[in-house]
Amino acid sequence: MARARLSSSFHWMAAPAVIFAAGMIVFPFGYAIWLSLSDVALGADPRFIGLGNFARLLADEEFWNGLRLTLFLYVVSLSLQLVLGTWLGLLLARSRSAQGLVRTIMVSPFMLPPVVVGMMAIVILDPSFGIANWLLEQAGLPPGLWLSDPDTVMLTIAALDTWQWTPFVALIVMGGYLSLPQDVFEAAEIDGANGWWRFRRVTLPLLAPTLITAAVLRSVDILRFFDIIYLTTQGGPGTASTTLNILAYRRGFEFFDLGYASAIMVTLSAIVFGSVLVFTRLRRAVTW
């Protein structure tokens, strides 16, 4: 009886926080969905038009271009970050020298605000006066156009994101690895398993839940990646880096087409939820 009373009062105490959190999440998202179903003329109340904005999406070449670029960035950045992050994380976990210093340096890229990273990229990668091309020149290599070439801009942006966030994945992997039972590795070693076999058959399966957690966190971030792209290219050259986020921002705040911009963002949110769902199911499948 007392236990039930305690449980009931606990629920009451938690209620304000739950209501506040729900309000902060549900209301904005619900409002965005409402806007996406409306024609929003500036200064006027939204007018319900059903799926009209979504029908526009299907016929909009810029939307399909944005979707293609968003998915390209997602696949390239996530793959690079998971591969490099795993390698770096294992390296760090096994490293015995200057651990504190190395880990502090590792943390620094993702501690930087995106604005700083964007400004650094503008300065370093500028084809006219950036240090990147100067270094290439010193090494006798041809200069690059980096963010200014439609063919390389997305790869450059993926590289920037990878530079900033690979250490984050590495720290998660390192933490996961250090928490694994070490006797499994010792047993594999006694059985004569070599390094690659051990990694493929023992380390990777044991690390799978950790890697999927890292993938979920990075997926959400990469799919809503905006600030560095906007700072460095504003979606250009042409529309070569106009991802869905950039497209929605431009439609909403530059062209004042808020209903259509909301439809783009709701679609992107669905993609984010979808990817999280896939990884969550995958995580269940690989949990040991």
Binding site: A41, L42, G43, A44, P127, T233, Q234, P237, E254, L258
Partner: protein, 436 residues
């Protein structure tokens, strides 16, 4: 120095307050201190004008007793925040900067501007010496929709042709007299001094039309056909598009398509390029670089050789009162003070070109302009902008930002070699027609 500036400000405030008191004594009810103790919230784009306002705000408080709380953002963030606040009908914002030549029609239709006409006509609300007619007729028209005055001008600006006189003299190149001379000069510089950068201009598509329009107009082209339909594919317009794109592609810096005024100003200021077509607003920033005040020339973009036309872009930022503000009269006092003859006279030294004729032709501005030949050249160019310039540099539509974006896209297509100038122009015409 600081003390002198304070004394000057205090004297100016006292003089303006005295004017107000005099007017009151003469039987008019206008009173600068009518809203003493209030606070007005202002939102500005990052601009030489707004930076100067931040420094002068104390004078306004001394004169009126009103506190001016200012927020200054870069243009993109400024527009995003403004849209959010106004769409949410927030009463927190009292006055904001607006480029009426760009967004005026949209904001007016949305009902975001308070009507200033009744306030201007009310002798109790407007200082007797305000003299709204002191702003040029074309400047006033740009902020008038129907009978509604939506904003008051704070500056005038337009793209100007800047060139390095010393480089031209060293290489024996004559000062460009026609638009086509720019290409000849570019070819010569590249051939005779390969280490000297030649040209830079805006490449980001939404900001391209501002610098591009002069090329189109001076070639004898226009963005619209006589019936108002999109006309980028007209022969002279295509020639203008082609010349702008050719200079950018063949003589511009690598990565020019990601450049806006910040990179262009930096390149010119550092002496890395010999010519550009960039905003008159950037004059103060450019001449702050060592030697640029001595070795640069500045004037309106030369006319086309065959057309003989010189039709530059001339626009002006303005300041408007929010239709949702609950402190409109206090905000109106700020607008009057900020656009008064006295304050505009002070702003000249911050590189803000005054839209008031009396300031432009006044002794203070003339004294400042006479201190250096380049300042005189800049002032003359601004006079020409005011005389011959236009604020319309897209096809007729209310959706101006989108139209300009499409026009800028044409230049990007040509520079990237993805379409011929004619094909890109035709494709854009089709898209532009959808905005009408």
């Amino acid at each position: 120095m600081k003390r002198r500036s304070f004394n000057g400000s205090a004297l100016a405030a006292a003089a303006l307050a005295a004017t107000g008191r005099r007017a009151f004594a003469q039987g008019q009810a206008f009173n600068w201190r009518a809203h003493d103790g209030q606070t007005v919230n202002l939102m500005f784009n990052n601009h030489p004008w707004s930076q100067a306002m931040r420094e002068l705000a104390g004078d306004f408080t001394a004169l009126t007793g009103i506190r001016a709380r200012m927020e200054i953002f870069n243009e993109e963030q400024f527009r995003a925040r403004l849209t959010t606040l106004m769409q949410g009908r927030s009463s927190d914002l009292d006055a904001y900067m607006t480029l009426t030549s760009r967004e005026g029609a949209i904001f007016h239709r949305a009902g975001w501007y308070a009507d200033l006409a009744p306030m201007l006509a009310d002798r109790a609300l407007t200082a007797p010496d305000y003299n709204y007619e002191d702003f040029g007729a074309s400047i006033r028209e740009a902020s008038t929709f129907g009978r509604q005055v939506v904003a008051v001008p704070i500056n005038q600006e337009g793209p100007l042709f800047y060139w390095r006189k010393d480089v031209f003299e060293r290489l024996g190149i004559a000062e460009p007299r026609t638009l086509e001379d720019l290409l000849t000069a570019a070819e010569t510089i590249k051939a005779r001094e390969p280490s000297q950068g030649v040209w830079a201009a805006r490449g980001i598509r939404s900001v391209v039309p501002y610098a591009l329009a002069g090329f189109v107009f001076n070639m004898g082209g226009s963005f619209a056909l006589p019936d108002g339909k999109p006309g980028l594919a007209q022969p002279n317009t295509v020639r203008g598009l082609e010349l702008y794109a050719k200079l950018l592609r063949d003589y511009g810096p690598p990565g020019a398509l990601n450049h806006t005024f910040t990179q262009v100003t930096e390149l010119l200021g550092q002496g890395r390029i010999a010519m550009t077509h960039e905003s008159s607003n950037e004059f103060a920033n450019i001449t702050r670089f060592p030697n640029r005040a001595q070795d640069l020339g500045v004037k309106v973009l030369p006319p086309g050789r065959e057309s003989g036309i010189s039709k530059p872009v001339a626009i002006g930022w303005t300041i408007a009162i929010s239709a949702h503000s609950r402190r409109q009269q206090a905000a109106w006092l700020f607008l009057q003070w900020a656009t008064s003859r006295d304050v505009q006279g002070k702003l000249v030294r911050a590189g803000v070109a005054p839209p008031r004729a009396s300031v432009f032709e006044g002794p203070e501005f003339n004294a400042w302009a006479s201190e250096m030949p380049i300042r005189r050249a800049w002032a003359n160019a601004l006079i020409e902008l005011g005389r011959t310039g236009t604020g319309v540099y897209q096809t007729p539509t209310d959706r101006i930002p989108e139209a300009r974006d499409l026009i800028g896209g044409v230049i990007q297509q040509i520079v990237q070699g993805r379409a011929t100038p004619l094909d890109a122009a035709r494709a854009a015409d089709t898209e532009l027609a959808k905005l009408q």
